[in-house]
């Protein structure tokens, strides 16, 4: 079956990845493209040779779709989600899924679990799948600590993301826009139930954080039960730094980059020598297009089978909850 997919939001992520992938898929066809900026939507639709749905006609256009991509700022999504739910149209929401637990619960309650997904596509990366196997099979025992370093000195933006600077649109700082990806990968891999913020620091630029660092304890059981894994992260748009996620075990460290084609490296616990590199082999993806393709395949297969996909929005609760608490602590200490 070829699924009919509508695209709400003709911004950079739709134009550079979602639309190329959706129009390349044999399992989907693009029903229309819509955007608050009708002219932009029309131009993008024409460029991809797909129909354009004027924003005024969107309510009726929704009925022609099996699923919709919602790639608009987080602060303006609520009304769309309600209408999609009312018309029983499944949805893939670009990340971040929600700014807090209340928003998360409201969104989740609208849809059956398999009909709402969130674009945490790093879960499909080959490096993520390899790390998942290492953890599941206990190659090096239980992890003790995870370190994340991601970001880079912002010298160019490449695209107009001015909603980042608009608190009403929900634009956040680095933690919400970038950090949530790596945090989601770590929480997804560790499947921890609870967290405790030991320390955290944000460098704020008005309302937005440009650098965020913290130490958090991640507990395997609810109510802070079990032996926690220590999480240290630094996300920064102010510094030049390496991008990696590093798992420390009693006898070894396992590290992988944050790009889709990153390979997994294993180091001796205190070895300074170059790590041993694993060949990609876990059946994961190694390009951004492949990651988005896999994400769409998961959602569409879920629609056919009724089984929630690995990117089902419900699985984003942990990262939503952690990010909300981190911002809350930051606000208290500001």
């Amino acid at each position: 079956m070829v699924a009919s997919v509508g695209v709400i939001g003709a911004g950079v992520i739709s134009r550079t990845v979602h639309l190329p992938v959706l129009t390349a898929m044999t399992e989907a066809r693009v029903a229309w493209v819509a955007d608050a900026n009708d002219a932009q939507a029309a131009a993008v639709a024409a460029a991809f040779d797909v129909p354009h749905a004027p924003i005024a006609t969107l309510t009726s256009a929704l009925g022609t779709c099996d699923a919709v991509l919602l790639a608009i700022p987080i602060g303006v999504r609520a009304a769309y989600l309600q209408e999609l739910a009312r018309q029983n149209v499944a949805v893939l929401v670009e990340k971040p899924f929600a700014r807090n637990r209340r928003e998360f619960d409201e969104n989740i309650a609208l849809f059956p679990e398999h009909r709402i997904a969130c674009g945490f596509m790093r879960r499909a990366y080959d490096s993520t799948l390899q790390m998942q196997r290492i953890l599941r099979e206990g190659w090096f025992g239980q992890p003790l600590r995870v370190r994340i370093s991601e970001g880079g000195r912002t010298t160019r933006t490449g695209a107009d993301r001015s909603y980042f600077d608009d608190p009403a649109a929900g634009g956040g700082g680095i933690l919400l826009e970038l950090g949530c990806h790596a945090l989601d990968v770590v929480l997804y891999l560790l499947a921890t139930e609870d967290h405790e913020i030991v320390s955290q620091r944000m460098i704020l630029d008005g309302h937005a954080d440009r650098k965020a660092e913290a130490e958090v304890l991640l507990y395997p059981g609810s109510g802070r039960g079990g032996q926690p894994v220590v999480l240290n992260y630094v996300f920064s748009w102010l510094d030049s730094q390496e991008n990696y996620i590093d798992f420390e075990f009693p006898t070894a460290r396992v590290r992988f980059g944050t790009q889709p084609d990153a390979t997994v490296l294993v180091y001796g616990k205190s070895s300074a020598a170059k790590g041993l590199e694993f060949l990609p082999s876990a059946g994961g993806v190694s390009t951004t297009n492949q990651a988005f393709y896999r994400e769409w395949r998961w959602l569409l297969e879920g629609l056919a089978t009724g089984v929630p996909s690995p990117v089902a929005a419900r699985t984003c609760l942990r990262v939503t909850s952690l990010v909300e608490d981190l911002y809350a602590v930051a606000r208290q200490s500001a």
Binding site: R15, V17, L19, A24, M25, A43, Q290, Y293
Partner: protein, 365 residues
């Protein structure tokens, strides 16, 4: 009936020797150049003769009392050296054979130029050519020295000790086997049990001399091979289709292949850094709508290519892509499956057996 096996320490010769050794009424004479070569067979209960069968004097002692001489040997080394060794072996074996003995030269389907993967231009291989030369020399020597001679061209030799069998076992045990056309095409597989059957039928005088293709009988499809292997391994066979069927691309013909190659080269030229830089410079002069369209097409092309790479599912084994040969078969063979079901393909391996002493040479045997 006494059957000599030349090249008994090879992969096929060893298994055939072991299978012959448990066949009633057959005395197998495995022939190896030295005791290192025969160690495996001797450890598994077989007595062997040792010597240089390519030497006319030694060949007499090794083969002089045998009714059938099965030549599986293939000399290795520098091409000239190997060719000369193969020729000497064929000559010496025919000369040493007793009157009335039958000679079977084992060759390969690789003598056919189209025994290559579908979509690949027909081509001869050095191995195929050498075997073809051996076939001619064997037939000539047989005629000259008055021995009935058979040439049996083998496909992918399949049996308990054969490499391809281990590969198929791994495939069926490790998930979906990617095989074109659901495995319905002929496999070109020759079971060792059928090789033994052919030797017996030739020894019993049930076959006319000549050149034959020896495949499992009746010819097995890949599906038969994989199902049999899965059943033996106690697993369910899972099959998948390749993303590109090699037999479809083979139908494309020369024009199609030329067009495909042309498209690939033009694509490579347009994608070269220099052409791209020139293009980017000129595109800036075009209207924004065209810029957007060109960029969108570029992104889409890249997505198509990335998705194709992700979904790329090549056939699980090179042999699956080789088209079935139209075989010229022996007439008296017993169905391979019947032989296998009767346990004729089970190789009797001994754990910790003592090394057997040498088999005495003729005329002291």
């Amino acid at each position: 009936m006494k059957i000599a096996v030349l090249g008994a320490n090879g992969q096929v010769g060893a298994e055939v020797s072991l299978l012959l050794s448990r066949t009633a009424g057959i005395e197998v004479v495995p022939v190896c150049r030295n005791r290192s070569g025969s160690a495996f067979l001797r450890a598994h209960g077989l007595r062997c003769r040792h010597g240089l069968a390519a030497d006319p004097v030694e060949a007499r002692g090794l083969l002089g009392d045998c009714d059938v001489i099965a030549n599986f040997a293939l000399a290795l080394g520098r091409p000239r050296e190997a060719r000369e060794a193969n020729r000497r072996l064929i000559e010496a074996a025919a000369a040493a054979a007793k009157p009335g003995s039958r000679i079977v030269f084992f060759s390969t389907l690789a003598v056919y130029n189209d025994f290559v993967e579908a979509g690949t231009p027909p081509a001869s291989t050095a191995y195929g050519k050498e075997k073809l030369r051996g076939e001619r020399e064997a037939m000539r020597a047989g005629r000259r020295l008055g021995h009935e001679t058979w040439v049996l061209r083998l496909g992918h030799v399949y049996g308990q000790l054969q490499g391809i069998r281990a590969q198929m076992r791994n495939l069926v045990c490790s998930g979906p086997v990617v095989v074109p056309r659901g495995g319905s095409l002929g496999s070109n597989v020759t079971h060792t049990v059928t090789i033994v059957d052919a030797l017996l039928k030739i020894g019993q005088g049930k076959e006319n001399p000549g050149v034959y293709d020896l495949l499992s009988f009746p010819s097995w499809s890949w599906n038969d091979v994989l199902l049999h292997e899965a059943r033996t391994a106690g697993v369910d066979l899972q099959r998948a289709s390749p993303d590109t069927d090699p037999f479809d691309s083979a139908r494309m013909g020369v024009t199609g292949r030329v067009r495909q190659e042309l498209r690939r080269r033009v694509g490579a030229l347009l994608g070269s850094p220099r052409v791209r830089e020139i293009g980017l410079t000129w595109i800036a002069y075009l209207p924004e709508a065209i810029n957007l369209q060109l960029q969108s097409r570029h992104f889409r092309r890249r997505a198509v290519s990335d998705i194709a790479r992700l979904n790329h599912r090549p056939v699980s084994h090179q042999a699956f892509g080789i088209p079935p040969v139209n075989a010229t078969e022996l007439v008296s063979l017993t169905p391979t499956m019947e032989l296998l079901l009767n346990g004729k393909g089970d190789v009797p391996l001994l754990e910790g057996g003592a090394f057997q002493p040498d088999l005495p040479l003729y005329p002291n045997a």
